[in-house]
């Protein structure tokens, strides 16, 4: 078989490994309508569940009457908290160490809270039944303002915790207090502020929003009474976590629970948690003995499962008068709604918020976060960002602009002066994070050159003069952002979920003919894992990517993993994949040495083969070695060619980027037009540039939505006023700007292939960039900070307050 072969480069190109813009494998089924999503599943005898929900944000339940609901033709059963109590499931533990009502028990704490679950033989009958559940309420005072949650006499949200003095993270300060968490050095920071030349302080609000994937949360639960086994199909970003939590809650042994996450129609953090709909479906299937499907509608999705943000940040920076930052501090109130169902690593109630010193060389810093209960939906997920990283990036990037303005410096120049320098890496931040690698100045300079930053500022200056002369009613704004992220949770010493270390896994089996399958603990929701993991294997093992199947989402077959969120798939499972490949390669090398009758050390790897050093005509390809592994292994060696790796990362990874945005604001209408958006990302080694670019386009579009219009808003009575696509902003192709993407490559030194993760960077960097641009438009008029979202009304109001309509 050792015939004449193409050059190394030609052979490498055929593998479609790392760096290749490989077309996606999963698209073949998706473009033909043959995806396999949860709601596509239909099982014999399957029933449908639907919720009766609370119209009140806070009320005592006097009585629930299910008679009329039960009488609806097709309705099989109606479940309430009383039913759930018989199986001890009226409440469930949350990922954050709190408990949450599955169905309202005694009172409701937020609008649209789940009150009763109606099971029927059709969707419509279930909905009819849910409408006819009669609930008598006694309304209670409502609080939806987190800044008033700890006031004296504020409505007590959680009567069940009345006597609890300790929260999950220490003493509670008030009956609506959840946790206090701090990081950094308070004394040193206060001292630095006391002697600072210049300080700024601003209340920066990151409003409540929602990840809103196009497919809502849904599941099918099927309990087999004979075997005592539960199969649960669902929209799960973390299937194994759902299995473990499901077992702990239901007491069904974990090996008798089969969790399957089929194709998922977008997640963005919405599909990490465990929701009452899942628990009710499981109970309903146990009660009825047949499969039960639950599909959330859009209003339920926006108003009940997994909000994000709602961080109220009192942000301060201190600097010398020549523009060197000396300290930062931030006091934050975090609104977690009625139950603390925040999806964070357990030890981190405010997530990785202490990345808030950003890309800058702060000598000292301090943050304190208080979590509070309000009459709003529970959640607090990372909407396309690592835990609370986008909140941190927003605060620091807004504050840097405000400080530059006070110093009279250009925002880009001020950043350059304070960016961590290349020679400082690995860099330990004031909060103790060790940033793995970075070349910030190169990235920043490249971005400024690409957009001709100087020329833009000159144009802005001229336009401002023209505005003052009354020749135009348009203001030009330039948004500059330099962000650093912390992703790839995470090292077991720092991260766990309910005690389970946040490693991840890959199991690879190479078949005799040189094809193979890789199974992982992560779960794609559109990221293209079936395509990209195969590319890592192609490069590592020298087998064509097309010959590698990638499988995720089945807890029976996949090795245990913590799932996909927080840009952790590539940093953690991508590393596991490479490490499993290296085990396979080491075995293949021994087989090759045996076959070629040389010592292991006399072989070298070349693209897809082991060849004898100095004699490259003598080689064995990986395909040949795969066959040999099942045919003629060396004496004493186990046959077969497979490996598994559980990767516990030594550190997080720290992707970064420089973004610049240009907007034109019409002061009379409040309309903001995005003229240009340039995004330079550095995610370390790039596995598939096409997919990276696609992720950046999508993340920037979500950032645009958040900055310019998205908000989950409540009125004073606790009515959620933005729970449909009429009110919750999702940009169409018409509003969405054109995106320019660019990159630098600074590999992670601790990751086996140097990759850092990218999916969330555009959201983390994008939101402050739009916001800085809009704020920059008004900055020369003395305005320091206009709150998001920058919709027409808010922007017009800002112009009005500045007297621009006189």
């Amino acid at each position: 078989m050792n015939d004449m072969t193409p050059t190394s480069a030609e052979r490498a190109a055929k593998l479609e490994g790392m760096g290749c813009k490989r077309k996606r494998v999963e698209d073949i089924r998706f473009v033909q309508g043959k995806g396999n999503y949860v709601d596509d599943l239909k099982l014999p005898g399957m029933l449908y569940g639907d919720f009766n929900r609370s119209p009140h944000a806070h009320a005592r339940i006097k009585k629930i009457d299910t008679t009329k609901a039960a009488a609806v033709p097709g309705v099989v059963a109606v479940i309430t908290a009383e039913t759930l109590k018989t199986v001890n499931l009226a409440w469930m533990p949350t990922l954050a160490g709190d408990v949450q009502m599955v169905l309202a028990d005694g009172k409701v704490l937020f609008q649209n809270q789940e009150v009763a679950f109606v099971i029927a033989d059709s969707r419509d009958a279930a909905a009819d039944g849910a409408d006819l559940v009669e609930v008598e309420y006694e309304p209670l005072p409502v609080n939806v303002n987190p800044l008033k949650a700890m006031a004296q006499g504020a409505p007590m949200i959680r009567e069940d915790l009345k006597d609890k003095t300790d929260g999950a993270h220490g003493k509670r300060k008030h009956y609506n207090h959840i946790f206090a968490w701090q990081a950094g050095d308070k004394a040193a920071t206060d001292a630095a502020f006391a002697k600072a030349d210049v300080t700024i302080r601003e209340l920066i609000v990151y409003p409540r929003c929602h990840p809103c994937p196009l497919e809502t949360c849904q599941c099918v639960a099927s309990f087999d009474k004979i075997k005592g086994e539960l199969t649960l199909w669902g929209t799960f970003q973390a299937p194994h976590v759902i299995r473990t939590v499901g077992s702990l809650i239901s007491k069904i042994p974990e090996h008798k629970i089969h969790v399957i996450a089929p194709d998922i129609g977008g997640g963005f953090g919405n599909k990490v948690g465990a929701y009452p709909g899942y628990i009710c479906s499981i109970v309903a299937s146990i009660v009825t003995g047949v499969p039960v499907k639950w599909v959330e509608d859009r209003i339920e999705n926006l108003s009940t499962t997994a909000f994000a943000r709602d961080f109220h940040m009192d942000m301060e920076i201190a600097a010398t008068k020549d523009g060197k930052v000396t300290a930062m501090r931030c006091y934050t109130i975090a609104d977690h709604g009625a139950f603390d169902a925040c999806a964070n690593a357990t030890k981190w109630p405010a997530g990785l918020f202490s990345i808030i010193s950003g890309a800058y060389d702060f000598p000292t810093a301090h943050v304190l976060v208080d979590g509070v209960y309000t009459n709003k939906a529970p959640g607090g997920v990372a909407y396309r960002c690592s835990f609370r990283v986008t909140e941190a990036a927003y605060a620091i990037e807004r504050a840097m602009d405000i400080m530059a303005q006070k110093l009279g410096m250009d925002p880009a120049e001020f950043r350059i002066k304070n960016l961590i320098r290349r020679e400082q890496f690995p860099y330990t931040s004031a909060f103790g994070w060790q940033y793995d690698s970075g070349d910030y100045h190169t990235a920043m300079n490249k971005a400024m050159e690409a957009v001709n930053y100087k020329k833009l500022r000159a144009e802005q200056k001229a336009k401002r003069e023209a505005f003052k002369r009354g020749e135009t009613r348009e203001l030009m704004g330039i948004g500059v952002v330099f962000f650093t992220e912390i992703v790839g949770a995470g090292p077991s010493r720092a991260c766990d979920i309910l005690g389970i270390a946040m490693f991840d896994s890959a199991e690879i089996r190479i078949h005799p003919t040189g094809s193979g399958i890789c199974r992982l603990g992560t779960k794609s929701q559109g990221q293209g894992h079936e395509t990209t993991y195969a590319q890592i294997i192609a490069t590592e093992l020298g087998l064509p990517a097309d010959n590698i199947a990638v499988e995720e989402g089945n807890t029976d077959t996949a090795p245990y993993g913590l799932g996909t969120y927080g840009s952790r798939s590539t940093p953690v499972s991508g590393a596991a994949t490479a490490m499993a490949c290296r085990k396979i390669k080491a075995k293949a090398q021994m087989i090759a040495a045996y076959m070629l009758e040389v010592h292991d050390d006399d072989l070298e790897w070349d693209v897809d083969r082991f060849q004898v050093k100095g004699n490259p005509e003598r080689f064995k390809t990986m395909t040949e070695l795969a066959w040999a592994a099942y045919h003629e292994v060396p004496p004493g060696m186990e046959p077969g060619l497979e490996a598994i790796n559980y990767y516990d990362p030594p550190n997080f990874t720290f992707p970064f980027g420089a973004y610049i945005c240009v907007v034109d604001v019409d002061v009379d209408t409040g309309t903001t037009k995005v003229r240009r958006f340039y995004a330079l990302d550095d995610c370390g080694t790039r596995i598939n540039p096409m997919i990276i670019e696609g992720q950046i386009h999508g993340g920037l579009t979500e950032a645009f939505a958040i900055a310019m219009g998205q908000e989950i808003h409540y009125d004073d009575e606790g009515n959620v006023t933005t729970a449909s696509f009429m009110d919750y902003f999702l940009p169409t192709a018409v509003e969405t700007p054109h995106w320019e993407t660019d990159w630098t490559t600074t590999p992670s030194p601790h990751h086996p292939i140097g990759a850092k993760g990218v999916g969330e960077s555009p959201n983390v960097g994008g939101v402050p960039c739009f916001s800085n641009a809009v704020n920059d438009a008004f900055a020369f008029l003395g305005s320091t900070h206009i709150q998001m979202p920058h919709d027409h009304w808010r922007t017009w109001t800002a112009a009005e307050k500045l007297g621009l309509h006189a």
Binding site: K23, R24, E26, D27, I28, R29, F30, V31, Q32, G33, K34, G35, Y37, D39, D40, K42, R123, D124, C212, P213, L214, E215, T216, D263, I264, G265, G266, F268, V295, D297, R298, Q525, G526, Q527, G528, M690, I691, E693, G694, Q695, H697, G698, G699, L700, T701, E702, S724, F725, M726, L730, T732, A733, V734, T736, H738, W739, E740, T741
Partner: protein
């Protein structure tokens, strides 16, 4: 509830069925006929994931009753491929240009783009953006969807596709 008889052609095949008058066309297609390509993203006719082609028009099938579709000719994503089984130029374009990620909006998006190209064989970028503005996508940011449709238009018109410079 009394049921009504409906008859319609779906992807070239005649379907006869009994439906409740209140049954939505999307539920009829998905739950009763197992045509699960069109998806449900909102049920309020905003997102367009349920878009089908009905008598030569793009229609959001969550906002049409099955009984209203009586006698109509419907095409869904399942009926998009060419007669010889090869992919339609739009299906090919979406893959070539990376015009999809999670795939949930894709069936509606492609069916909508099909009608757009029937009405306008060489749409400009602006016309494409306006033409698909009834279909939401949460993953792609639309830029590559626009390219996918341009790719398909070029292929259907028999001219080489030229990607616009970034």
């Amino acid at each position: 509830m009394a049921k009504s008889q409906v008859s319609m052609k779906v992807n070239g095949k005649t379907i006869e069925a009994l439906v409740e008058p209140r049954m939505l066309l999307i539920h009829f297609l998905r739950d009763q006929q197992n045509i699960t390509g069109p998806h449900i993203g909102c049920e309020t006719s905003h997102c367009g994931a349920c878009t089908v082609d009905l008598d030569g028009k793009s229609v959001k099938s969550c906002t049409v009753f099955a009984v209203q579709a009586n006698g109509s000719d419907i095409r869904t994503i399942e009926g998009m491929a060419n007669a010889d089984g090869t992919l339609h130029a739009l299906q090919e374009g979406f893959r070539e240009m990376h015009g999809l990620q999670c795939g949930f909006c894709t069936p509606g998006m492609i069916v909508r783009a099909y009608r757009l190209l029937q009405e306008n064989k060489s749409p400009s970028e602006e016309e494409i953006r306006m033409g698909i503005s009834g279909n939401l996508c949460r993953c792609t940011g639309y830029q590559n969807i626009v390219k996918a449709i341009q790719f398909a238009a070029a292929k259907l018109n028999g001219v080489p596709f030229q990607e616009a410079a970034e």
